[in-house]
Every structure is written in C-alpha cells, then in structure tokens.
Symmetry: T
C-alpha cells in the first residue's frame, strides 16, 4: 500500500509562515510524524512539495499505477487551478484534500475550492493532524472497496 502526499505552494515555509494561522510545526516534522503513523498501518508514504502548479500536475500524473491514493493540500492552488483538478480527474486515484486552517473563516476567495468536486473527501481546520485523519480516512475507504 503506497500513498503519495503532495503539499502545494508556500507549505515548505510551515513553522515560519504566519504561525498564528498555520501553526509552528515545520513540514518536515509533520511529514515525519505522518510517516511514523503510516508505518504502524503498513503504508509507505512518499512526500512531494512544490510551489509550481505544473510540477504538481506532473507529480499527480506520475502517481498513476504507482500509488494507491493521494493526500493533497493544494494550498493557494485550491482556488485557482483547473489544471490540478483535471489531473486528479484524469488519473482517477482516490484523493483526499486537506487544509490546515479552517478556510471558511478566512477571505471570501478561499471559500471556493476548484479541487473539491473531484476528490473523495475534504478535511479542513485540524492543523497537521488533518493529514493523519486523511490517511486514516483513505485506509478505511480502500479497505472497503
């Protein structure tokens, strides 16, 4: 069982960037916690972060036939990227969308996700724990299907 974890633009700054909104844990630390949790579940994780919409599309495409599922926090591209949406539709791998903060009590333009209609489910507002919930949710889904 292999799952790909994709983090979008500016998430490499976690821990430094506006900790009042995004928390104080770095992405490395979040990933390492998540790997530990995945190991217990016998799941191998691969991590990818990019600030480039095109590279994220490339990575989603390359997941086809390699990964059983995708966990993605598209960050800013949530609200602007039809290309990432189309990539997720195209590879047809079960995908979960995660947001660290509760995007619904921030600026109006963050309330609309172009990604949401093509994913299995979304999880928002739980901070780094959201990735773990996504992992658990995906495992439940994959077990069932």
């Amino acid at each position: 069982m292999k799952i790909l974890v994709i983090n979008g633009p500016n998430l490499n700054l976690l821990g430094q960037r506006e900790p009042g909104i995004y928390g104080e844990q770095t992405l490395e630390s979040i990933n390492s916690d998540l790997s530990a949790r995945a190991a217990e579940l016998k799941v191998a994780l691969s991590f990818f972060q990019s600030n480039s919409e095109g590279e994220i599309v490339d990575m989603i495409q390359s997941a086809s036939g390699v990964f059983n599922a995708i966990i993605i926090n598209p960050a800013a591209y949530t609200h602007t990227s039809v290309a990432i949406r189309d990539a997720i539709s195209a590879v047809a791998i079960p995908t979960v969308e995660v947001h660290l903060s509760n995007v619904y009590n921030r600026e109006e333009f963050r309330h609309k996700s172009l990604i949401a209609p093509v994913v299995l489910g979304q999880i928002a507002g739980f901070g780094p724990q959201g990735y773990e919930l996504a992992l658990k949710g995906l495992m439940g889904y994959l077990m069932k299907s």
Copy 2:
C-alpha cells in the same frame, strides 16, 4: 470526556434514503459503531437527531457545561440555518461539522455552509467513517489544548 453527536434533518432515514448518495447503513448502526470506537478512547457519546432547527438549537445550548465537544452533521440546515450557527458560536464548545457525501459535487446551493465559519473543522465525503474521523480529530484537538 463527553461528546455530543447531533444529526440533522432526514438523517434518521439513513439506509432507506437515496442509498446511492448516502450509503446503506442506518443511523442506529452508525451510532453503535461510533460508540464502540469511543469506548476504546474512554469517551462517552450522547446521540441526538432531529428534523427541527429549533430543537437542534435547544440541544446545542444544553450542551454548555455538560459536553466537551460536539460533532454535528447539520444536513439541510448546513445551508440555511443562521440560528444553528449562532448557537455554536454562543456555547463556544469545540465543534466539528461532518457531511457523509461530498457536498461539493452536488447542487450549487450545497456548496455554501453557514456553519463552517464557526466550527473547528469540517470533514466531508467519507460516509459514516466521517464521524469516526471527527471524533479522532476532536480528541487530538482536546488533548493539545
């Protein structure tokens, strides 16, 4: 540790109602699975379902000083109830919003949640497993605070 689980209108019909969208498990069965999981975590759950906006507001109010957290699937009231939103703000108990289906690939009016801006987090699209993720997410949050 006590958590209140509120289900909104028409969720009492789960298992009968449009199983293509909402799945085949009844609410009783979902609740019973969730109770079992909560017991493992040393959490006591109380369940409440109502088709009435006013009764849900009453119940949220009565949770004050009794429950440590709320899990709510507001169903249809997600999109129309300022009263439930105000009740959640008023009692200031950590609350998670759950939706069984992925509301973002259904009718346009289901994309807007009046509840979302006042909750801790939302989980959508995972079917009955969503309640369990919410429970886990709340426990993580309460442990941390």
Copy 3:
C-alpha cells in the same frame, strides 16, 4: 388509495389573512370541499397543517409506506427549506406542489422554489381549486404508472 395533504406556515389563517391575496375561504372549508371531491374518486385524504419546518419534515417521513402521494403547499418554506426538499427526495412518494396565489407576480424572493426540482409537478394561481387540480393530476399520474 390514500393521499396526504400538507399545508405549511400561516395557511391555518386562510380566510382571515390578506384575503385580497389568499381568498376568503378558510382552510377547513377548503379541506372539506377537497374531501368531498376525493370521496367521489375513491381516495382517502389526510390533512396536516403546521407552522414548523421540522414537523412538516417529520410528517413527510411518516408518509412513507402509508400514502400513495402527497399534495403540499409549502407556503413560506417553499423559498427557504432545503430540509423539506430533502424529505420529499428521501421518501420518493409522488408529490405535487400547490400555491394559491400566482407567486410569480409577487416579491422576487417568492419566484424561486427550492421544492420544485424534486416534485412531480406544480400548480399555482388557481386559489383553493389548485388542490383539486393537484388531486386530479396525481390520480392521472398514478393511474398511468
């Protein structure tokens, strides 16, 4: 053959309430005329009126397996209730929406029905006679299916 007739908020005031818009006949009198007409058609009617959205949802749910069809005048809830819409979808009983007045020459917000997309048909503007047309329309539909 049993049909449930549901009247929404403020329709219990018919005859007193703004007779210029809603006419001078009371709801009791309308119901009694309709029962007489139904008897000729060998149909049994049950009547329900409530000012509460939740009670109307409860009643629609309870119609499942008991009634062959529903005639509903959702009144104010036509424009605001996703819960009643979801209840009608959930029970999947043939339903007709009736409005006494021509809602399309009144305030803008009355032009939009949340209920209309899930019913068999709508009848508006015929005053109390609208219920009789709905009854006849339902009978025609049920005969055919």
Copy 4:
C-alpha cells in the same frame, strides 16, 4: 364558451422529440383527447401551433372578443419573449400557462418564465394531462367570476 389552445415552438414535434423528456404522444393526439374532454364540458376549443413568436402574438391579439380564455404552452418562448407577455397583458383574457415537463429540474435558464407574471396560473410537470388540468382550472375560474 370558447377557449384557444396555443402551442409554441417545437411542440409540433411531440412524440418524435426527446420522448424521455416530452413523452410519446403526438400533439394531434393530445389535442384530440383534449377536445373530447372539452366537449363533455360544453366548451369549444381552437388549436394553434407555431414556431414563430410573431405569429403567436398575432394569434393572441386575434383572440380578443372571440375567446373566453387561452391555454398556452409557450415552450422556448417562455424564457425569451417579452412580446408574448405583452400580448397577453394587452388582450386581458384569462390565460393559463402549461409546461409538459417539470421545467424546474432542467437547465437554469428554463427556471425563469417571462410569461408567468401576467397569467392567471401555471401548471407544470403533468405531461399532456396538464392541458386538461388547465381547462378544468379555467372553467372553475370562469364559473366563479
């Protein structure tokens, strides 16, 4: 008692055109059923179908002083014709708007009727039976006035 029945664009194709939406009965057959029903009620019907907005306006105008009422299914012109609306207002003959399908669960632009605010009432979703309900509704209205 004379009533004019007007059918708008493409309704001459009934029976051939998208039977999943519009049913399998031809317009001739619908008209003939309706005439039979009207004869029982001692009402004479005249039928008119046109694909031209202007001809429909001409016909409505010519109804003045000749017909006691109009039944109109404006089809596509429901959503685009101010001219037909103005003609109905101008002749001031009681008019009922009929739609075969439930226009409210079709494309968004079919939800708005320019005709509705100037007619006595609307009936939608009952298939060919809708004309009969309109006839009955008009008779009830004319008896009362």
Copy 5:
C-alpha cells in the same frame, strides 16, 4: 393596552453568549426592566422566547385579537425566515423589529432583513435599551392612530 415581546433563537443565552457583542445583561433582567418601564406607561407586557421558527409563527398568530402590538427581536431568523415575515403580515398587528447589536457592522448576511419590509419600524444597536425605545415608539404610534 397589551404588548407581546418576542425574542428569537439564542437570546435566552444573553449575558452568557459573546458578551462583547450582546452585552452582559440576561434576558430575564432585560424583561424585568422593560416590565417596570411598561407599568409606568400602563401597558401590560407578555414575554415569549423560542429557538423554533415554527413556535414563533404560532405565537405571532395567537397574538391576533389579544395584543395591541408586537416587539420582536427575530435574531438569526431575521435573515432566513419568510414564515415569520408572512405571520406578521397576516396578523396585521403593529410590530417593531429590535436588534441589540448594530447588525450593519457585522457579517454581510446580517445586513439583510426579511422581516423589515413588513414592520412599522426597526431599532438597532442600542443594546437592551432598544426594547424600551421600541415600546415608547409603539406607544407613540398607537396614541396617534
């Protein structure tokens, strides 16, 4: 002279609920102050609070023939209830709408009142004193008519 004072959802929590917005006085205390003031004016007050839209509609209906006027703080239902609006229109009793806070410097959706077009007047932003101003305003109005 009898006046009915209706308070909508979550106003029973006054004093506890977000005191920064709604103040620290309880509803009981507000009502008792208002009663004292009314007594000086030889007016008898009845108080009603409910979290249920339907119960508020019921209460407004029952005011007919019993009360000379209504003071209503519809709270959350201000923005969502056509049913309460229709009830006020139906009973045709002079009604004043009160809001404790200045709703116009809060969330966008609180700027729109469905109730306002059918009441005599509105008073917003004066805290508990708003009820007293409403009482005084109603007395002035009733004296004049």
Copy 6:
C-alpha cells in the same frame, strides 16, 4: 426626404391595450397626425407595424437606399432583439428609438435596451408626441450633416 416609421409588437393594439400606460389614441390616429406634421416639413413618411421580429429586420434591411432615416418603437423587442440591433447597424441609416411610456419606471427588464447603443438618439415618456419629437430631431440632424 423619406422617413420610415416602424412600430413593433402589440402597438397595433394602441387605444385598446392598457390605456393607463399607453394612452387612448389608436396607432392609425397617431400615424395620421404624424403624417400631417411631416407634410408641413416636406417629408414623406412610410408606416410599418409588425409583431414579428424577422419582418422588422426585413423591413429595416429594405430601407437601405430608399429612406433617409428611421423612427422605430421596437416595443417588446427593445429588450430581447439582437437581430433588430444588428439590422440597424448593418444598414447604417440614422435611426431614432421612441418609447411611448417612461420605460424606466416600469419592470426592471424594461430598463435595458439592446437597441439604444446603435441608434442616434432615444426619446421616451412623451406618449404619441414622442414620434413628432423624433421626426423633428431627425430633421435637425439631417439638416446639419
């Protein structure tokens, strides 16, 4: 000097149709008054009325090389006809748009003219006298160019 006067749908009913809005003079009488006035100015008028958008387009096209100017009251087609707009642009004959009533204090949809951006000028609200003002305005314009 020859000017074509075009009247759109339902204007043939002038004098009968809603005299409160459109006045009591018939179109024949208006035309005859206007002819008299034109004769004084040494202008020959031709009159055309049609309820058909297509016929009005045909007539505008045929004016090319025959008439020096057009006076048009597009009536209902003011708000819905791109075809008439395109015809006026295509023939490039100076055209004045006339409305009998003040369209700006009627229904919202009558406030928008698709024709206005391609004409020389508009005159609205002066009743039948509007045609005479249009004639005078056109003469002034043609004298100057």
Copy 7:
C-alpha cells in the same frame, strides 16, 4: 409660462470639453438659441448651471410655485444622485431629462439613470437640439394637461 433649465457638472465647459463627444457649441450659445426658440412659443426660460449637487437640489426646490416645468441635464449626477431624484419627486413639477450624447454607447456606468424613474420623459443623443425637443415635449404635455 415659465420653464427652468438646469445644467449639471462640467456642462459649463461645453465647447471646450471633449468636443468629439459633446460638440463644439458653448453652453451660452445653446442657451441663447433655446431662449430664442422659447420666445416664439411665449415661454420664459431661466438658466442655471452648477457643479454642485447640493446647489442643484436647492434650485429644484426653489422652482416650486415659480416654474411650470423643468428641463434638466444632470450630467454626471444622473448616475450618482439620489438627492436630485428626491428633489424632483418632492417638488412634483413636470421634468424632462436631457443628455447631449447617446449615453448608452458609452461606459457601462452611464447606462443607469437614477433620475429617469421620476421624470416625465428622457431625450438622449440629439446634442444641443435635445433641449429644444425637451421644450417642445413639455409644451405639448402642459397643453394637454
């Protein structure tokens, strides 16, 4: 018979200001031509130009009981002044709105007139001749009433 002619902001620059849009005639020259024409009709004109919304309101108010009619070119205030609209409603003197250019083929915000719904009629696109048409239109109207 006395008529007040009001010109709004920047119209004092006529002849200098963007002659491609507004023409090359100065306001003095336009007024003097108009006076000559009025003298033939036995009408006395008074002229007023101001760049100030408040002064235009003052002037309209002062017309009450002094002038039989008003011709106004509100220029920029057409699109932004509720105060001028209210003044025209308040004095209830027949008023005609004139625009030199065809405002409907300019910027979108110039298509909406706040003044139009409260005047007798509008004339746009005829350049300086528009005032003369307005004068003639007003005389026709006053003769008739």
Copy 8:
C-alpha cells in the same frame, strides 16, 4: 450636554413633500417639539439642515469638541455618501441614524446604508417620533458610558 441634529437633502420640504411617505409635519415643527423634549432632559440641541453633502461633512467635522452626540437623518446621502460616513468615523462622536419612513419597503437602492456601519444605532419608520427615540437612546448610551 449638547447634541447636534443634522437633516440631509430635501428634509427642509417636510410637510410639503410627498406627505403620504414623509408625513405632514414641517421640519421646523419637528425641531421645536424635539427641543421641548430635550429641554426636559437638560440637553441643548442645535439644528442643521443642508442639501449639500460637503456642508454636512463640514458640520460634522465642526462638531468635534463641541457636541456630545449627533443625531443625523442623512436622507438621500444615506445611500451614496462615503464622505459623510468618513466624517462620522473621523470625529468619533456617538451618532444615531434616523429615517422617517421604513426605508426597507421602498426602492431596493434605499435598503443599503453607507452610514449604518459607523453609527451607534439606527431608528427607522417612526416618523418624526424617531428623532425623540434617538435622543432618548443617545442619552441612555451617554449615561452608561
């Protein structure tokens, strides 16, 4: 204790202007009644009316350090003046907004107040009595702070 009472455009016409909407009492009479009431409360009132947005801004600015509070009926400028809004914010004197009529059952553009978000409170629909309620509301507020 000194309070400034500002009345905006066209309110100097009260008693003459559309008495069906604004009542039959003149502004002088309203002011004199209000002064009498203020005298009882040991408050000195100053009155200012202007049709000019700029003069109203000037007056609000000059209130700084002189008046304890402002009562303003901005009339037409309610809906169009950011300058008056900014002046009220700038002087930071407690201000109450008054409207004679119920602006919420008039034209759509009167439902939006640019002033409301920066005042202490609003009172609408009580006719001239609204000023007295505002005075009382301000006194209550000033006593409390």
Copy 9:
C-alpha cells in the same frame, strides 16, 4: 450525403454590412464557393437564409429525415434563441455552429451562445472559410460514426 446550410438574420447583407467586421464577400459568393468544395466531396448542399427565428426553426424541423447534417450560423439568434436550440436538440441531426467573426472580442453579450451546448462543434473567427472547415469537420465526423 446531403447537408443543409442555414444562415441567420442579416447575413443576407454580407458584403454590404460592416465589411470591417464581416468581410467583403457576399453570401451568394460564399455559398457558391462552398458548393464547389462540397461537390468535390460528393456532398449536396441546400442553402437557407432567414431573418425570422420561426422560419429557421421550421427549416431545422424539416431537415429531419432529409439531411445528414446541418451547418448553421445563427448570427444574432445565437445569443437569444432557445427555440432554435430546442429545434436542434429535437431533430438530433449532427450540427455545426459557425461564426464569421471572433465573437469573443466583441460585445460581452456575444460571448454567450445558447446554441453551443447542443451542437457537435463550433468554429469561429475564420471568415467565410469557416463554413468550409465546418463541412470538412462534419464529413470527418460522419465518416467515423
């Protein structure tokens, strides 16, 4: 193989009408070039032009069972005709929509096609050559199916 070529309103003026936008070739010349090209492909073309929406609907209906495909340039009716859209849906003949100019760099209202959702494909901006591309595209499509 027979294909019907329909040209909408004002296209009969090609060559005369605004050559800067529509080119200098007449419709006859375009049709004759297209016929020559079709002859090479062993396709028989029939040509129809009308300024009337109703006649275009009639013609599309009459194509059923006679033509293998339709090429249509709906011109102005592209943006306003639901009737033509419904006719194309009804006859279910493969149809291609052609526009001479690039409608997307013209007025906003020309960006929306009511026809586009029901055709096989659209071609815009290639001038008269667009018809030839449509012919070729249709042939490719018909060969494949």
Copy 10:
C-alpha cells in the same frame, strides 16, 4: 512649472482622524514638506482642500490653462464621484491620484476607483510620502512629453 494639489473630504482632519489608518501628520505639515521638496525642483505648488464635490469640480475646471499638472487625493469621492472624473477628463491636464492608505486592504467599496481610469497614474499606501512620489512621477512625465 505649476502644479495644483487637491485634497478631498476629511483630509483636513489628518493628524486627528483615525491616526492608525491615516498617520499622525497634519495636512498643513504634509503640504509644507511637499512645498519644500517642490521648491528644490523649481515647481510652484498650490494647495486646495474641500469637503464639497462641487467645489473640487470647480477647482479642477479652473486649473485649465493655469497649472501644468494636478495631484489629487479624492478621498471618499474616489468611489462615488463621476463629476470629478468628468472634470479631469474635460480639462485634460496630466493628473495623478494619491491615496495615503492601501485602499485595497480596507472595505470592499474602497477597492473601486471611478477616478483611476482617467488619470495618468495612481500611488497608494505610502502615507504622506505618496504626494512626493506623485510630484516626482509627474515631473518625470512632463520632462518626457
């Protein structure tokens, strides 16, 4: 070289008004700093501040033939004044728009400038230094032309 500096409503309160947004320097002090800077550049400045839209229009008009350029901070009138916009277009003097604060992170209605489309350039968010940048920008522009 002479440049006119215009400051709009409430800017005379600088230093007193909301210093958190607008800074603590008075307008006199800003003007005096700016004059010193201009003197170095051999430019003579004239200063004008008004709370009246009409006076600002008057002043812009009077700049014609006297000043080489205008620096304007239209303050509140930025968002509401077509009259000032038209005045700037009319005099055709190079004009720069300055805002002290970053208007784009304030209320939504402050994001739209009616003035911006007719000026040479805008400078926002630099506090009092913005005027100096505008002066420098204008000098650069005038040197080049």
Copy 11:
C-alpha cells in the same frame, strides 16, 4: 512555412484520461496524423506539450520570428491563464485555439476562455480532427494575408 502546435496540461494523458470525454487516441498518434497531413501541405510542424503555464509562456515567446503560426489547445489554462493570453498578444503570431470536447456542454467554468479574445479563431468539439481543421484554417488565413 512552420507552425508550432502547443498542448496544455494533462493532454499528454490523452487515450488514458477519461476516454468518454477526450477520445481514445494518444497525443503521439494525433500529432503523427497531423504531421502527415501537414507534410502534404508543405508545412513543417513542431510539437510541444507542457503541464506548466510558465513553460507554455516561454514557448510562445520563443516562437517569435521562428514560426508563422501557432495552434494551441490550452486545456485547463484556457480558463485561468492571463499569462498565456498576454504572451499570445505579445508575439502577435496568428494563433488558433482548439478544444477536443465541446466545452460548452461541460461545467460552467469551462464556458469562459481567457484566450479566445486574442486569437484568430477557435475550433471546439471535433476531437483530434480539430487540429487538422485549425491547420487548414490557418493555411487559408496565411494564404490570404
């Protein structure tokens, strides 16, 4: 004669990705067919596909002075990329926009092309054949200019 063919994000997945919408032919196969067709016309094609908006902009820029024309299927970037639009405007090389599917009967956001206003023409709905039509259309255009 050299033409550059650019394919946007996810088009490298053609043949695998949702074949119901995009067909079963791979991009390599489409390109190879198109090359063969181009060879007959003595045109050399270069192919470029990228998932990155920036790389597509780079490629369009590099076409300047090298290619005579561009065929572009911007895929997802059609609806979101101002950068690609600006690049096409900047290089001023004749460009045709191609879409495989009929974008007008898919999601609403796919109906709007940011690219369309700056290209020569668009072709949509013809599947892989669309590229061939674009090639032919471009050749016709280049021959003529």
Copy 12:
C-alpha cells in the same frame, strides 16, 4: 541595504511587446537605469524575471533574510495568483507592487489585484519610472521604520 526586483510573465519582452501599451524601453535598459539610481542611494539591487508562477514564489521565499524589500511587477499573475500573494504574506518583507500601464483603463479583469491587499503600496501608470518611484517609496518607508 538590498532590494529584490521581480518582473513577472512577458515583461522580458518589453520593448518588443505592444509598445503602444508598454513603451519602447527593454527590461535590460530599465534595470540598468534603476541600478544607477539605486547606486546613488547606496542600495544594491538584484533582478529576477520569470514567466513561471512557481519560480516567482520560489524567489520570494528565498528573499527571506537576504533582502530588505521587494519591488514586484506581477504582470498577468497580478490577477490570478493566490500563490504569489501567499508568498508575500509569508515572508513578511516590505513589498511594493508596480504596473507600467494604468491597469484601470484596460480590460475589466485587470482592475482586480490579488496582490494589492498584502503589499505596502502600489504604483501604476508611470511606465519604467514606476520602478524608481517604488525604490524611492521603499527607501522612505525603511528609513522611517
């Protein structure tokens, strides 16, 4: 003192691209002029241009701890990039947004900047001189803080 100057997509084409809008100076020449000016002010500049959103995000991130300020002309990404906005917020370095042209008199979609709410200030319409004004503005700001 070190400042990073970032230029977005297509700005590498300056001098070639639409010189009517963007001027005839190349980016190299602009940068070199700006460096000379910076040297006088004892500021070191670094220049970066990219057509890729992701690379611009990368560069902004890498500025953290290295540069004292950023000058950015986001070009097309001004209107579409939440990622660049988030990067600027994340690094919290004082940033100025520059536009060569006056974006407010171009297409509607260029009037909205996603970047503006998170920068210190914006400068638009001054051509290449805008960068120098930004440099000066930043120096003033940095001196003061």
